[in-house]
């Protein structure tokens, strides 16, 4: 079985994230890392491989992003993925959902041409854009079924079943491979790379592809042809810390009630 896990390199959410002057996310000036939510996808891919240990299963970590984004692929390899593919091209900078899904789809097709792909796995969202739409767009472009937002994952043969916790119902969704599978952070904690894993990752195959390698014209992607445009990105004024009352003598509830009353909540 051939599994491709899409991994995104994102600015660290605990750092001071910002925008460039062209209103794109600053992906160079802020420390980046593998999106935490994609770690769950890597973890679930590894668990499928471990559960089906009698099969020959290969996991490829696929990343689209600037030069430094190779760190995200490296982390996935350290966790246990077998190969890395990094699609990097200056023309990709500023790409929106549509262009990102195009580049990912073409890269998956190139991998598929070499060895048939069975599963394309993704996290539930990126921690920077938080769109949650690329997996569905990827499924649309690849004409694969989408089995998305899985909080519990089961595979048997070429069948995949997930639990999807929607707003009004919990559903069981099923489909046949090849398909796009996205997983939530409810699937269980992702493993930390072991020392052995970190050493082994250095010897794992890693390829860097340009747009030309995957048959995408530079004019189809990037900021200038994006289907949406950001006109303005403004930092919100930080919230002013208000009054903090220390509840030494049981006066906390009364003080809080007075505050709520002053704001007409009670």
């Amino acid at each position: 079985m051939n599994i491709v896990v899409c991994v995104k390199y994102v600015p660290d959410a605990t750092a001071d994230r910002q925008f460039e002057s062209d209103n794109t996310v600053d992906r160079v000036g802020v420390d980046g890392l593998l999106s935490e939510l994609d770690e769950y996808a890597v973890e679930q891919a590894l668990q499928i491989k471990e559960k089906r240990s009698d099969e020959d299963i290969s996991i490829t970590a696929l990343c689209v992003g600037p030069e430094k984004a190779v760190d995200a692929v490296r982390k996935a390899l350290q966790m246990g993925a077998d190969k890395g593919v990094h699609v990097s091209d200056d023309a990709i900078a500023g790409s929106d959902y549509a262009a990102t899904s195009l580049v990912l789809a073409k890269a998956v097709q190139k991998i598929d041409a070499e060895e048939k792909v069975d599963l394309v796995m993704c996290g539930m969202a990126s921690t920077d854009g938080s769109g949650s739409v690329v997996p569905a767009m990827l499924a649309e472009r690849l004409d694969y079924p989408q089995v998305t937002f899985g909080s519990k994952i089961e595979t048997q043969g070429d069948q995949v079943r997930i639990q999807r916790d929607g707003d009004v119902a919990t559903e069981i969704i099923g489909g046949s491979m090849p398909l796009v599978l996205s997983v939530t952070d409810q699937t269980g904690e992702a493993r930390y790379p072991s020392f052995k894993g970190i050493m082994a990752a250095k010897k794992k195959p890693m390829e860097t592809w340009s747009l030309g390698d995957i048959g995408v014209d530079a004019g189809e992607v990037g900021l200038s042809v994006a289907w949406t445009t950001v006109q303005e990105a403004t930092a919100r004024p930080p919230r002013q810390a208000g009054e903090v009352h220390t509840d030494e003598d049981g006066s906390g509830a009364g003080a809080l009630a007075d505050f709520l009353a002053s704001k007409k909540f009670i």
Binding site: A13, R17, F19, Y97, S101, M124, A125, T127, G129, G131, S132, V133, V134, A139, E140, D143, Y144, P145, Q146, V147, T148, F149, D165, G166, D167, T170, E171, I173, G174, L179, D185, A226, W227, T228, T229, V230, Q231, E232, A233, T234, R236, R239, A241, G242, E243, V244, H245, T246, D247, G252, A253, G254, L256, A257, F259, L260, A261, K263, F265, I266
Partner: protein, 317 residues
């Protein structure tokens, strides 16, 4: 005036409040047309309400070939309606499903997609809160039919008394859209409290509850509020994931948010930072949540909340 398509979010014909909010926003961009996918009988009934809140037209699409499958058939229905009506925009609720339908529709129609908008101006410019609510972004679709998913609570529904004329629409669903099947569905039990994303007041609990949510729930009920939980409380198995407020749970923006025993990590802040008024109760005076609050109490929530609940009940008489 061009039509603006609004995909109706409903449970057995009962139209959700966020759908009515979408109709109000759609009215700024053109003439709202609701798209109801479900049994025809329910559609006629829903149309009355949709009309009342601004839908001039209600396309009723029978769901016999839609309901057993995930997302893809609904995107096909909308793509065919976009083809038929050349709308000024398509609006959907920012849920898992709404976003994914929007994503597939964007690719099908070669259109730009904006997710998680909290406002749309008359000229189609959207506002989004990004980076855990630290930035506000103004954006616009520049290609195709603007497709926008909008967060609940972004505007108030407006009773405007439009016609709500029902028009049956029959869509063709491809075999390829029927490849991801809904094998089983278990409706979520109603809690009797307001919906988390729609509530005016949210009372949340975190690690500091130690697993005892009774004080949090008691205060929520006295205030008529929804109950929320931090990721730590959900990961500990104290509350179901549907209660989680934060980056991987719900984003809420109520008039009043009360965080109890929640430290205020970035994951949580991402889900509540745009609340109008923020109050916190926490034993740890160093907790980062206190940087955000309008009013904070350093103290034990197990003492403060029950006492506060009594005071709320007294004042409400």
């Amino acid at each position: 005036m061009s039509e603006v398509l609004v995909l109706v979010d409903h449970v057995d014909g009962a139209v959700s409040k966020p759908t009515l909010e979408l109709l109000a926003l759609a009215g700024r961009l053109g003439e709202p047309s609701a798209v109801f996918i479900g049994p025809s009988g329910q559609g006629a009934e829903a149309a009355t309400k949709l009309g009342e809140y601004g839908a001039a037209k209600v396309y009723v699409v029978d769901d016999a070939e839609v309901k057993g499958y995930l997302v893809a058939p609904k995107a096909e229905v909308l793509a065919q309606l976009v083809e038929k009506t050349s709308p000024a925009a398509v609006l959907l609720v920012s849920s898992y499903e709404g976003k994914e339908i929007g994503g597939r529709l964007a690719i099908k129609t070669g259109s730009g997609l904006i997710t998680d908008a909290v406002d749309i101006a008359d000229d189609g410019t959207t506002t989004q809160a990004v980076f855990a609510g630290n930035y506000s972004v103004q954006a616009k679709v520049t290609r195709g039919t603007p497709i926008v998913t909008v967060k609940p609570n972004s505007t108030a529904p407006e009773a405007s008394g439009a016609a709500g004329t029902v028009e049956e629409f029959s869509a063709t669903i491809s075999d390829s859209a029927k490849k991801a099947q809904i094998v089983a569905s278990q409706p979520r039990k109603a809690s009797g409290r307001p919906e988390l994303t729609e509530a005016a007041i949210v009372v949340s609990g975190g690690r500091g509850t130690g697993g005892d949510f009774a004080p949090v729930e008691g205060l929520a009920d006295a205030l008529g509020a929804a109950v929320g939980a931090s990721r730590a409380a959900v990961d500990s198995g104290w509350m179901p994931h549907s209660f989680q407020v934060g980056q991987t749970g719900k984003t809420v923006s109520p008039q009043l948010y009360l965080a109890n025993g929640i430290s205020g990590a970035i994951q949580h802040r991402a889900g509540m930072q745009t609340s109008k008024t923020i109050v916190a109760v926490n034993k740890d005076e160093e907790a980062p949540i206190f940087e955000l609050v309008d009013f904070g109490v350093v103290g034990d929530l197990h003492a403060v909340l029950p006492a506060l609940t009594e005071k709320v009940k007294e004042r409400k008489g």
